[in-house]
């Protein structure tokens, strides 16, 4: 089993090294090789999904003494949630490798750093202690820096620096929190042990857990991002290359929520109970605000970015509500939004490859020239609107139903986001695809080719499958949700 866990970290890492070592002349080999490598990870992750570890709450499978004299360990483990997210990552990596346009597909650096990104993200999901979590959390930045910096848009420097600084600023709080909790655990058991089992057994005072919760949660919320801390997201999305924004929207935003579920709530529950209502308020503001701002956007990517803010608001609402149903819904929503947002960005990327613009006003009537594309886009938009029978509905429905008992007013307001989502998505669809073709360039656009279809269709199937039969992924998240919820219940009971 442990080999499997390691394979998630090392296969992409070695892969990226291999890519870097390939000869410059054989640039046509880059894409196949990297796809092959990431397919290995994908198969492994599917195997993990079917293994017994995907039905359990988190448990550490491997311990590795890192710094003896300080008693620091590096731990790896997995849980249903991790397995699901690892699968999501692997899938998105493979598909976005398919979807790459020629320019990116023949660039060593791009593919190499893409696989490095895969390595870092997997590391976050399998890490079993705060140190490794932080290390991988930060390591994500390096490949993203190059992906955005080298292959980004015109204004990429500003966006990249902003992204990096924002995230580093957030993670500084995580860092201080890690140090703090490490010192506390030193006072308990004489070593700076911060693995998740030790943390579970620390009995912190109220103030300690409050402070720690705030430190960690702030750091993660920057990544989510929650309402006032979101401004890095639109810039980053707009400037990043397509594959970059696919990973950004599909997985990186989830890392924040993942961290909160994995660290902040289980270990600092008193603090969580203290402050969750504020988080809930912020996330509801985010839901409405993101949708409202999305309506006004002229740039397709920006629009989707703001819609991501709105959808992640649902996730945070579910997390802060903390009921069994809402937690499960939140995790499911994490997965679903990963798929939907990734698909949307992929589609925008296809359009961008053809027209090299993302301005909505540049298009119109595309349904005539590229009907397949239009149909797929409509399908995906309905998935993201949250139409029953598609995946977007499941998570949001569970979250709303589940969070009602905790925050009845807030969840009622949050339901409004469903309406707004319909407004901005359909309006965008109307402006891009319907009506008669106004611009000359749009008359000659080609419809999706086979490669692009291959890279988008699995996502569509997944959307439909999950929408019709959500039990499929529910089984993976139940245990985690149950574990977290039982801790919350226990703490409430103690009070």
């Amino acid at each position: 089993m442990i080999e499997l866990i390691f394979s998630f970290i090392f296969v992409p890492f070695l892969g990226s090294i291999i890519i870097f070592l390939l000869p410059k002349t054989r640039s046509e080999l880059y894409r196949p090789i990297s796809i092959a490598i990431s397919l290995i990870t994908l198969t492994n992750s599917i195997y993990l999904l079917f293994s017994e570890y995907s039905k359990t709450e988190f448990n550490i499978l491997y311990r590795f003494t890192w710094i003896k004299s300080y008693g620091l360990e590096i731990n790896f483990g997995t849980s249903g949630m991790s397995a699901l997210l690892i699968f999501l990552t692997a899938l998105l990596i493979v598909l976005s490798l398919f979807s790459l346009n020629q320019l990116h597909a023949e660039s060593k650096g791009f593919l190499g750093s893409f696989l490095a990104l895969h390595f870092a993200i997997n590391g976050v999901f399998v890490s079993g202690d705060l140190i490794s979590l932080f290390i991988f959390f930060e390591a994500i930045l390096i490949p993203m820096y190059f992906l955005m910096g080298i292959w980004g848009g015109e204004n990429r420097k500003y966006a990249t620096i902003k992204f990096i600084i924002y995230t580093v600023f957030g993670s500084i709080f995580i860092f201080i929190g890690t140090v703090y909790v490490a010192v506390i655990s030193y006072s308990y058991n004489g070593k700076l042990a911060v693995d998740f089992e030790t943390l579970g057994n620390l009995n912190l005072t109220l103030t300690q857990s409050k402070v720690l919760f705030l430190l960690f949660t702030f750091g993660f919320l920057v990544k989510v991002p929650i309402f006032p801390l979101h401004t890095w997201l639109p810039d980053a999305h707009v400037e990043a290359p397509t594959a970059g924004s696919i990973m950004l929207a599909g997985v990186l935003l989830k890392v924040g929520a993942f961290g909160i579920l994995r660290v902040s709530i289980p270990f600092f529950t008193e603090g969580y109970l203290e402050y969750r209502s504020y988080i809930a308020i912020l996330s509801v503001i985010g839901i409405i605000y993101g949708a409202v701002v999305a309506i006004a956007q002229e740039d397709i990517k920006k629009l989707i970015a703001y819609s991501s803010i709105s959808h992640m608001g649902f996730v945070m609402l579910g997390i802060s509500a903390g009921s069994l149903l809402s937690l499960e819904g939140a995790i499911i929503q994490i997965f679903n939004h990963g798929i939907t947002a990734a698909a949307l960005f992929m589609l925008v990327g296809f359009l961008y490859d053809r027209r090299h613009t993302r301005k909505i006003s540049e298009f119109g009537g595309l349904k005539i020239t590229m009907p397949k594309y239009a149909a797929i886009f409509l399908f995906t938009s309905f998935a993201s609107i949250g139409l029953p029978g598609l995946n977007g509905f499941v998570g949001e429905f569970m979250i709303l139903i589940g969070s009602y008992e905790t925050f009845n007013l807030l969840s009622t307001i949050a339901a409004l986001g469903v309406v707004l989502a319909a407004i901005y998505m359909l309006w965008a669809y109307q402006r891009i695809f319907t009506g008669s073709i106004s611009k000359e360039e749009n008359k000659v656009l080609k419809d999706l080719n086979l490669r692009e279809l291959i890279s988008i269709v699995p996502l569509l199937l997944l959307m439909l499958l999950i929408g019709v039969y959500p039990k499929l992924i529910e089984s993976f998240v139940t245990q985690d949700a149950f574990a977290i919820n039982s801790i919350i219940k226990f703490i409430i009971g103690m009070k």
Partner: protein, 632 residues
């Protein structure tokens, strides 16, 4: 066995649409129509079989689960067969069959012929899904799917921006309704911990009325959205941008009645909440009046019908509000038939006039297209409520049951009568302007539509003559069917004996007077002969008012469309750009400015450095000496 058949009925249309969707290329129009017609015929037959079986074990409803949807809270995908759903089943399948038959020739020269039927069958599927649902979640899913398919069909001609706009409008307004429905679901789940209708209804008596009222009100919002009641009705007239047969099925017969269906389905819950009933009846009445009044001066052949649909739906809501659930369903059924008839007739007229929809440009068509004229005439009479046609029975039953509630309901009854009168009036106008009124357009090129169109018209007209007899005061067929599903509901019953006769006579009179007055005005133009100057301004004012639907659309547009755009743009630019992001950038800029200022101190003058050296040395020693004072 029956379970299998039910599943078959529900999913056959989906199969059809997916077959047609998958191989667009291979199938030509003939094959498409072959597939869709045969499968829908099959569906119809199966549903008839189901209904027969159902009626044989005297309307004993039953339900079954398909599979578990979410394990945690045990939400099942399940379906149920009872009187209500049985009736709807028959209604939907039969109408869809007829209308598809009509469409095969109506849409024949359309280039997206195939995908039209894809959407159409998908709609049928989702509607059946909705009506056969055995719990709220399934109903909600069907509810949304119906909205989706109506969106698809309205914006079918997507090159027309107006069509797409109408589609968006329909979807968004429906979404506003669904928002209410969703909150209703949240309330229901947190009060009952289940979505199953039976479990909920069984424990209703334990809950306080306020809770039930709250739930009912939020569900009502959904019903209003779907059934185009007062605040949320403006999408239906715009929806006429879609193909006419689609309008016939969706925006006349079936989908818009989903709200009524839903309210009747939750009637066990509804009956406990006085407030909800009052809201329903008053909104229904108001809608009925407004819509009827606005229908008078519409010139688009389909818009008139749209408004009349709205007002008829208003009647159904009145019935529900009055607790006459059977009457509501009865009117639903009858209305479905004659409204479908009218729409199809309009369709054939439009087809004959080569997509000319302005009725003032028509007139005296009854020579060119006699069959269409007669069938539409039947429809008109039926909706006007002239015995023995269908409309009379249902409408009369509604009015009677409202009357029988007594008290404040007398007023409602009076207003309802007024609405009935207006109905008869504008329908008469409609028919006359199209077929009767002589004017100087030459319609020589116009000629009768092909058989494929006429057959459905004839069948439907037959239905709209006789369907009324399923539930006369003498023979309560419908009540028997619905008995089991409305078991624990108190249904308002008709008054007995003389009152009933009197009410019947009154309503008949109303119907006749409406038709006659329309005949006087629009055919003989009496008002020209005897001129009453006094009222002329008032009348023009009324005309304007009804033409613009009390300016409700304009106001709505102003508030919800124009101002929403400006508002969002302001938010995006000011709040997001300037305030939030500005704050972030401000920090960065201050840092940069400070660093620039600081770096001036690095003058490169060595004596300066020496001076810093001394200065800080002194300061530090001072600080050090001060340490005991500073730190405790």
């Amino acid at each position: 066995m029956i379970k299998f058949f039910i599943l078959l009925v529900i999913f056959l249309p989906l199969v059809t649409s997916s077959i047609l969707f998958i191989n667009k290329r291979i199938f030509n129009e003939k094959f498409t129509s072959f597939v869709t017609l045969n499968i829908s015929l099959l569906t119809f037959l199966i549903s008839v079989y189901i209904f027969v079986v159902f009626s044989l074990n005297n309307y004993e409803g039953f339900e079954f689960k398909l599979f578990q949807w979410i394990k945690l809270i045990d939400i099942q995908i399940g379906f149920s067969l009872n009187g209500l759903s049985g009736i709807m089943l028959l209604l939907i399948t039969s109408l869809s069959l007829l209308i598809q038959l009509f469409s095969t020739s109506y849409m024949s020269e359309d280039k997206n012929y195939n995908s039209y039927f894809v959407f159409f069958n998908f709609f049928v599927f989702s509607m059946l899904f909705l009506v056969m649902s055995s719990n709220f979640l399934v109903m909600f899913i069907g509810w949304e799917l119906v909205g989706l398919s109506s969106y698809l069909l309205i914006s079918f001609w997507s090159e027309k921006t107006s069509a797409v706009k109408a589609g968006n409008k329909a979807f968004v307004i429906n979404r506003i309704g669904d928002f209410g429905f969703l909150i209703g679901l949240m309330l229901i789940f947190n009060n009952f911990n289940t979505f199953e209708f039976n479990l909920i209804f069984s424990q209703i008596s334990l809950k306080s009325e306020s809770t039930l009222t709250l739930i009912a009100i939020f569900l009502l919002l959904g019903a209003f959205g779907k059934s185009a009641q007062f605040p949320l009705f403006s999408w239906l007239p715009d929806a006429m941008e879609g193909p006419t047969p689609a309008s016939a099925l969706i925006h006349a017969a079936t989908m818009v009645t989903a709200g009524v269906f839903m309210l009747v389905r939750i009637s066990p819950l509804l009956q406990y909440s006085e407030v909800a009933n009052l809201i329903i009846i008053s909104i229904g009445l108001f809608t009925a009046l407004i819509a009827a009044f606005s229908a008078i001066n519409q010139n688009d052949i389909k818009k008139v019908l749209a408004y009349s649909t709205i007002s008829q739906l208003g009647f159904m809501f009145i019935a529900i509000g009055a607790g006459a659930y059977v009457a509501a369903i009865f009117h639903l059924v009858t209305h479905a038939f004659f409204k479908a008839l009218l729409f199809l007739g309009a369709g054939s007229v439009i087809h004959a006039m080569h997509h000319e929809q302005d009725i003032t440009k028509m007139g005296a068509l009854k020579k060119q297209m006699p069959i269409t004229a007669t069938t539409m005439g039947i429809g008109t009479i039926a909706i006007a409520g002239i015995p023995p046609l269908a409309g009379f029975w249902s409408k009369d039953e509604i009015l009677a049951s409202v009357f029988s509630k007594g008290g404040v309901y007398y007023i409602f009854w009076g207003l309802a009568l007024a609405a009935a009168f207006l109905t008869a009036f504008y329908m008469g106008r409609h028919w006359l302007l199209i077929f009767q009124k002589e004017n100087n357009f030459d319609h020589t090129h116009v000629n009768e539509s092909p058989k494929k169109m006429l057959i459905p018209l004839i069948i439907l007209s037959v239905f709209s003559i006789f369907i009324g007899f399923i539930n006369t005061p003498l023979f309560h067929g419908l009540e028997k069917v619905l008995y089991q599903s409305l078991e624990e509901v108190y249904v308002t019953h008709l008054p007995e004996g003389f009152t009933l006769i009197a009410l019947a006579l009154i309503s008949i009179g109303i119907g006749f007077s409406g038709l006659i007055s329309s005949y006087l005005i629009y055919s003989l133009a009496v008002h020209k002969k005897l001129d009453f100057q006094i009222a002329i301004n008032f009348i023009t004012f009324l005309k304007k008012l009804s033409l613009n639907v009390f300016y409700l659309n304009k106001i709505g547009n102003f508030i919800f469309v124009a101002s929403l755009k400006n508002f969002t743009r302001k938010i995006a630019v000011v709040v997001d750009g300037l305030i939030i992001d500005g704050a972030v950038n401000l920090v960065a800029d201050t840092f940069n400015k400070t660093s620039k200022l600081t770096s001036f101190s690095q003058t490169g003058q060595v004596r300066n450095y020496v001076m810093y050296f001394g200065l800080f040395l002194v300061l530090l020693i001072g600080l050090f000496i001060a340490t005991p004072l500073v730190s405790p």
